[in-house]
Structure formats: structure tokens, C-alpha cells
């Protein structure tokens, strides 16, 4: 293009390289001048958007969408992972997954972890956030202490806890030394305890993220509202229940959403602490663990891909339902129309 802005000439016609070109050649009546400029601006903008977002879109397609599509494709085959898949089995993998008692187990574990995460972490995070929102001594230290576990990588956390919680590990040794030897237990392998051990570690690890979110939510509530309520004679508890909680609503709902998705995809902590075999007997195995054990370790890559697809579909359905019914109000207006 000769000029970058497509400026209009004084007579309202767009300047062009060759005067008059296009007038006779096309039977289309020339568009009203403003619209033409408008249209060209719009085309340019589209091009800019395309150029600027292309790298991100290509990366996303290559590393997210393509593997998902590939998994869906492999899921229809019985395939050992060597050479090209040849044994088409249709929906048989899916039939086997949905009728496998071991898969029912992991679904139940995932559901349990999901519910317990919400029930334990939610209230705890709100209480901690309210506490840390006050002017108390050592506030920043407490904040750091609560937030640090969230920063540490899952692998490190898992290895540390797994060493401490072994039956001959530091945890039991400490109990023994402080005279609580009767409380010593096999924290990891005991099926009655394992899920609670897992929940304790999950809570310890992820509560920091929830607290930070809630704190940010609290900060965004204007002080005038609290002042007004106080002047009206509302007690502390009334203020929290009728003002803070409702106004924290959007934050809580978003946090719950992230927590749900995270619970459905939980893998690393369980894998590091329990491993893929003992987690099954201890009752902490998740869908992702099942996928690894039944897919890669059994050499059934087709079956494993089908498990991945099932996980994807479950997460998608949960996410869609949640967005449709829970986040609808919060998201309204968040997605803006692209206007020029």
C-alpha cells in the first residue's frame, strides 16, 4: 500500500495509484467514502490481529489441539506404540474403560478429592483471608508461610512428604519421641488413612493460592460499604455474612472452578508419594494415574489414549456445566465484542 492510513482525498474519493482504475472495470458502485475507509481499516485490523496472534494460535494448535485429536484417533485402535496403529477396535476401548471396576474406583477417588478440596479448602481459605485482612502483627510472615508451599514444585513436595511419612520416617519418629507413640501409623499405605493424608498435603500445598485469591477479592471490596454497615449498627458477623461473602462470590466461584479442574487432573503428588501401584490399594489413585498404569505401563497406547479422551470429556462437561450455571453472572460482560 502506498500510504499507510488510506487517507481520503478532499473530494471524498480514496487516492489510488492509478486514477480512475476500478471505476470502469467493476460494475460495483463505489461505496460511500466513509464506509470504504472504515472497511479498509477493518481489513487492516483483521490482518494485524491475524499476524500478531498467529504464533500463539499455531503453538496452541500444535501442542494442545493436535495431541488431543491424535489421542482421539489412537483411542479407536488396539495399539502397542510401535509402528503405525493398524488394529481398529472402534469403541471397544471405551466400553472396556467404562466397565472396568478399577476405573470406577479412580472416578470415585477423583470425586472424593474434588468434594473434599472444596469443603476443606474453601472455608479455611476464607477464614484465613479474613484474618490476614486485619492489621495483625506478623501478618506478612504468616502470608509467606501460607503461600510458600504453593511455590514449591509438586515433585519436591511429594518427595519430602513421602520420606517423612514412611512408616520408619521422620513423622512417626517425632510422634515416638514426644511420647505419642500410640499415634504412629502407616500414613501412606493404610487405606483408611491414605486419602486423608493426601487431603492434608493437598490442603497444605494449595491453600496458599486460595488465600491469595480471597485476599485479592477482599481488597477489591470498597471500604465505604463496611463503614456504612457499621454506622447502621451491623455486627462484625453480620457484615461478614451479608456483605463480605456475597461480594466475595465471584472470587469464590472462580477459585472453586480452578480447584475442580485441578482435582480432576490430579496426578503428580499421588504419583510421587504413592506411585502408580500402591495408590490403587491405598485408595488415592486418580484418573491420570489409571491412564499411565493402563496405558503406558501396560504398553496399551490405544487404550491409554482412550482414557485420556474420557478424562478430557469429563473435564469439559464439568467445565461447561459450571460455566453455564455457576459462572454465568460473573462472566457476563467479560467477553467483549470486537468493535472498531
Amino acid at each position: 500500500m502506498s500510504d499507510t492510513l488510506g487517507t481520503d482525498t478532499a473530494d471524498g474519493r480514496q487516492s489510488q495509484g492509478t486514477p480512475g482504475a476500478g471505476d470502469a472495470a467493476t460494475s460495483v458502485p463505489p461505496a460511500p467514502p466513509r464506509a470504504a475507509a472504515h472497511r479498509r481499516g477493518r481489513a487492516r485490523m483483521r490482518l494485524e490481529i491475524a499476524v500478531l496472534s498467529a504464533p500463539a494460535i499455531i503453538t496452541f494448535l500444535a501442542f494442545v489441539i493436535f495431541p488431543v485429536a491424535l489421542a482421539a484417533y489412537y483411542g479407536f485402535y488396539q495399539w502397542k506404540g510401535y509402528g503405525e496403529p493398524t488394529d481398529w477396535v472402534g469403541l471397544n476401548n471405551y466400553k472396556l474403560i467404562l466397565t472396568d471396576p478399577a476405573f470406577h474406583d479412580v472416578l470415585w477417588h477423583n470425586g472424593l478429592i474434588l468434594v473434599l478440596s472444596l469443603v476443606i479448602q474453601g472455608p479455611l481459605a476464607i477464614v484465613l483471608a479474613l484474618l490476614l485482612n486485619q492489621k495483625i502483627r506478623g501478618r506478612s510472615t504468616i502470608r509467606v508461610l501460607i503461600f510458600v508451599p504453593y511455590i514449591i514444585s509438586e515433585v519436591i513436595v511429594g518427595t519430602g512428604w513421602s520420606l517423612m511419612l514412611q512408616s520408619n520416617g521422620a513423622g512417626n519418629d517425632l510422634l515416638h519421641r514426644i511420647g505419642l507413640g500410640s499415634l504412629e501409623a502407616d500414613w501412606i499405605a493404610d487405606p483408611d488413612l491414605a486419602i486423608w493424608t493426601l487431603m492434608a498435603i493437598i490442603t497444605w500445598k494449595y491453600i496458599g493460592f486460595a488465600v491469595i485469591l480471597m485476599l485479592a477479592g477482599l481488597q477489591s471490596i470498597p471500604d465505604e460499604i463496611f463503614e456504612a454497615a457499621q454506622i447502621d449498627g451491623a455486627s462484625y458477623w453480620q457484615i461478614q455474612r451479608r456483605i463480605t461473602l456475597p461480594l466475595l462470590g465471584p472470587t469464590i466461584r472462580i477459585w472453586a472452578f480452578l480447584s475442580i479442574i485441578g482435582s480432576l487432573q490430579l496426578f503428580d503428588l499421588v504419583y510421587i508419594i504413592w506411585g502408580q501401584y500402591v495408590s490403587g490399594t491405598a485408595g488415592t489413585s486418580t484418573m491420570a494415574i489409571y491412564m499411565l498404569a493402563q496405558g503406558r505401563n501396560a504398553g496399551n497406547y490405544g487404550y491409554g489414549s482412550a482414557v485420556a479422551v474420557v478424562m478430557f470429556v469429563i473435564s469439559l462437561i464439568v467445565a461447561l456445566i459450571y460455566q453455564r450455571f455457576v459462572l454465568r453472572r460473573d462472566l457476563r460482560g467479560a467477553v467483549t465484542e470486537g468493535t472498531v
Binding site: 503453538t59 496452541f60 501442542f63 494442545v64 488396539q78 502397542k80 506404540g81 510401535y82 509402528g83 503405525e84 476401548n93 472396556l96 472396568d100 478440596s117 479448602q121 513421602s162 520420606l163 514412611q166 512408616s167 520408619n168 502407616d186 501412606i188 499405605a189 487405606p191 493437598i202 494449595y206 493460592f209 480452578l258 480447584s259 479442574i261 485441578g262 482435582s263 487432573q265 490430579l266 504413592w274 506411585g275 502408580q276 501401584y277 500402591v278 490403587g280 490399594t281 491405598a282 498404569a293 493402563q294 505401563n297 501396560a298 504398553g299 496399551n300 487404550y303
Partner: protein, 428 residues
């Protein structure tokens, strides 16, 4: 619980892995494409004498055949299978690579990714029929075995003395007796790393080796049905042994080879007296002793006899791997494999890896008492059987391992093992 950025991180990691894989696959390419007589070999020997052996062998071969260069690449043991799979599927596999055997090898053969070895009579004499049988499919040899890996129980002679056990147990009752005596001196009688599943499953395999006749184990490999009652009896034997609580406290969450708390670590530090393992164990134990030296009092005895079992009491279990040639490997690659099973090379190999070479003429260099015991048992064995998860393929083997862990955790019963294995056979 988790943030959305996790996806971005995962994508970035995925990108790195993809690049790394591409990078290493590129490294393994030279053998198949240039035809200049460069052959790449992938081994899992990372350092120390093992890796040195391969470098020396490559040098020695190059001296004999100046037109051939063997390029040795060490790949971390746990990474090897995945990298190999990528390389084979993308047609950029190294000419020679470590072969685990069994179901994995079968899958490679089915996909036409490795070649059968055309062995001369001298090679067959060097390796021996028994070892070749373990790496043959339909009468064709697909890997060159280098060592025999008889499995048995490694034990600490000092702890046995201390507990007043005068001779190595030869029957189950004697083993249970030894367990009781070892408990009295406050050490764990037997260490097992059940977190990895397979070390625990090997107890079941060995019971099956004693309970099932050779015919029925071979039959099961073909039909993948486990209806013979011996499979359940083997599970019952294991359950019976479990009642004596022979394993260390917390064995379900113990690993087999990592750190002092692992089963090998407990042997290395005299915290446990026995461990059932293949012949790589002494090396692993040596790395975990306080002074990083081999355990001086390490002994070996074969898996005890089980009364009433249909299997031969001398039968022994062992791994059978070796080195395979990818489909595009030049003929020089085969030459190198033929070279490493000759007497001098096998002697050097056995010394570097503390193992028992397949070449009978080289077996004179075996000096460690545990290897001598293992070698005697191996040469006396009526037949040898590969690890069941290798024989029955990854899919069934994996299900068997899981079922055994369930049994040990008190979640499943002996009858469940055959049932779970049957269910798995449907999946693959």
C-alpha cells in the same frame, strides 16, 4: 487448586521434550543413513566400568576393522524405552540398542522395526542354545544376549550368622524358620520394594515357577489364559508367606533401588537380611553401602522348593535381554555383536558388570561367591523361565504386577490374580 498457567508450563515443557527428543533422535541417525561404516549403539550403562567396557569394545573392534566406527551413546535406564520408541517410530533408531526382550521385542518385530540376526555356528557356540532361546521368536534370533541373569535370593551372610542360621534355606519351611530367627535379632528378614510393583511381583513369579509345570507356563504364554489351578496356588503360597510378616515395615511404599530406605539400601546397610532379585542387584547394593563399595558378605541362594509344586525344584527364573539391530542397521553392526560374544570380550564384560557371561569359556572369570552360587544353580537348572511380565508381554505382566501388589496390601485374593490378568488380556 491449580492454575491455568500450568497449561502454558506444560506446553513449554512439552516443547522442550519434543526438541530434546528430536535432538537425541538426530544423534542416533548416523548409522542408518550415511553408510560410512559408522554404527551407533545405545546402552543404559551410564558411567563407571560398565560404560568404559563399551568404549573399549568399540575401540578394539575399530582396531580390527578400521573402516567401521562404533559410536557408544549412554541413555539413562528409565529414559531408554521411551526414547527408543520415539526413535524407532520416527525411523531414526540407532543401529544397535539394548533390548529388554519379551513383549516389547515382540511388538518391535510385529512392527518390522528390528532385524533377525543371521548367526554363524561359532556365534551359536559362543552364546549357547539356552540363552538364544530366550531371545528367539518363531525360531529367529532377534537379540544378542550377553549375560545370564539367574534370579535368586541375595542375603547377608553376617546377619545369617548372627541369627544362628547355619545354611541357606532350601525349602519354604526353612525360609519361614529363617524369617523367625532374623526377627529375633531385630532386622527385617526380607526387604522388598513394592512401590515399584515388579520386585513384589517377582515373589509371585517364583512361586508360580515352583507350582506350575513348564508346559503350563509355556501354554499360558500362547493362550494368555490362566485357568490352571497352579496360578492360584502360587498366590496362596505368597499369602501364606505374608502371614509370617517377613517383609520390612512399610514395604508397600518402599522403592527397590533408590536411597538407604529402599530394599537394596536396606541390604547394603544391614537393616534387612534378604532380597529376591536378578543379577543386577549386587551392583545396586554396592552403590548404596556407606563406603560405596560392594557388600563383602553378600551371598546368594536359589528360590526355595515348594512342597507339592508341579514345577521342577531346580528350575530358575531369569531375564533375557541383549542387543538388537534396528531394521536399517548396516551389516557391520552385526559384526560388532558377533565380536562382543567372543571369549576375551565376554570376560571383560563380566568383570565390568559383575555378571555371568553367556559364553561358557568366559565363565572362568566369575569370582564373586554370589555369582558362583548363581552360576552353579543356573547350570544345574532343569530349565529356565524368563520373568513372567516379560514372557506374557507388558499388558498382562503389568496386570499381574498390580494384582500381586493388591494381594500384598490385603486388597485382593489369590484367585483375583488369574481373574485380573484375564481381564487385562482383553485390553491389549
Amino acid at each position: 487448586m491449580m492454575r491455568k498457567t500450568r497449561c502454558a508450563t506444560a506446553a513449554a515443557i512439552g516443547l522442550c521434550i519434543a526438541l530434546a527428543a528430536a535432538g537425541c533422535a538426530g544423534g542416533g541417525d548416523s548409522s542408518s543413513s550415511d553408510g560410512q561404516g559408522t554404527v551407533t549403539l545405545w546402552t543404559n550403562a551410564m558411567e563407571g566400568r560398565g560404560a568404559q567396557y563399551w568404549k573399549d569394545a568399540a575401540k578394539a573392534y575399530h582396531a580390527l576393522h578400521p573402516d567401521v566406527a562404533i559410536k557408544i551413546q549412554s541413555v539413562q535406564n528409565e529414559d531408554l524405552d521411551g526414547k527408543l520408541q520415539n526413535a524407532l517410530n520416527s525411523n531414526s533408531a540407532p543401529g544397535i540398542f539394548l533390548q529388554r526382550g519379551g513383549g516389547k521385542m515382540q511388538a518391535m518385530v510385529n512392527a518390522g522395526q528390528i532385524q533377525a540376526l543371521e548367526l554363524a555356528d561359532t556365534d551359536k557356540a559362543n552364546v549357547g542354545e539356552a540363552a538364544l532361546e530366550g531371545v528367539s521368536i518363531d525360531g529367529k534370533v532377534y537379540a544378542m544376549p550377553l549375560d545370564t541373569q539367574p534370579e535368586g535370593i541375595y542375603y547377608s551372610e553376617d546377619l545369617f550368622k548372627k541369627a544362628g542360621i547355619t545354611s541357606a534355606p532350601t525349602t519354604m519351611d526353612e525360609l519361614k524358620d529363617a524369617v523367625a530367627k532374623l526377627k529375633a535379632i531385630k532386622v527385617a528378614p526380607i526387604a522388598v520394594g513394592a512401590k515399584d510393583a515388579w520386585p513384589a511381583a517377582h515373589w509371585y513369579y517364583n512361586f508360580a515357577l515352583r507350582e506350575c509345570s513348564q508346559e503350563s507356563t509355556q501354554e499360558a504364554a500362547k493362550s494368555l489364559t490362566f485357568d490352571d489351578p497352579c496360578w492360584t496356588s502360587a498366590g496362596e503360597d505368597l499369602a501364606e508367606l505374608l502371614e509370617t510378616e517377613p517383609f520390612q515395615k512399610g514395604f508397600l511404599t518402599a522403592t527397590s533401588q533408590q536411597g538407604a530406605g529402599s530394599s537394596a539400601g536396606m541390604i547394603a546397610n544391614h537393616k534387612a537380611a534378604m532380597e529376591l532379585m536378578g543379577n543386577w542387584d549386587p551392583g545396586v547394593i554396592a552403590d548404596l553401602t556407606p563406603d560405596k563399595k560392594p557388600l563383602p558378605d553378600l551371598g546368594w541362594f536359589p528360590f526355595p522348593a515348594v512342597p507339592g509344586g508341579k514345577g521342577d525344584p531346580t528350575a530358575i527364573m531369569g531375564g533375557a535381554g541383549g542387543y538388537s539391530l534396528s531394521k536399517n542397521a548396516p551389516k557391520e553392526a552385526l559384526g560388532f555383536l558377533q565380536f562382543v560374544v567372543t571369549k576375551e570380550q565376554q570376560e571383560a564384560y563380566a568383570e565390568a558388570f559383575d555378571t555371568i557371561p553367556v559364553n561358557k569359556e568366559a565363565q572362568g572369570v566369575v569370582t564373586e561367591p554370589y555369582n558362583i552360587s548363581a552360576l552353579q544353580a543356573f547350570n544345574k537348572a532343569a530349565y529356565s523361565m524368563q520373568f513372567l511380565d516379560t514372557v506374557y508381554g507388558q499388558n498382562v505382566g503389568n496386570a499381574m504386577n498390580i494384582a500381586v501388589v493388591n494381594l500384598m496390601a490385603g486388597k485382593g485374593s489369590a484367585t483375583d490374580i488369574a481373574k485380573d490378568v484375564k481381564a487385562a488380556a482383553e485390553k491389549g
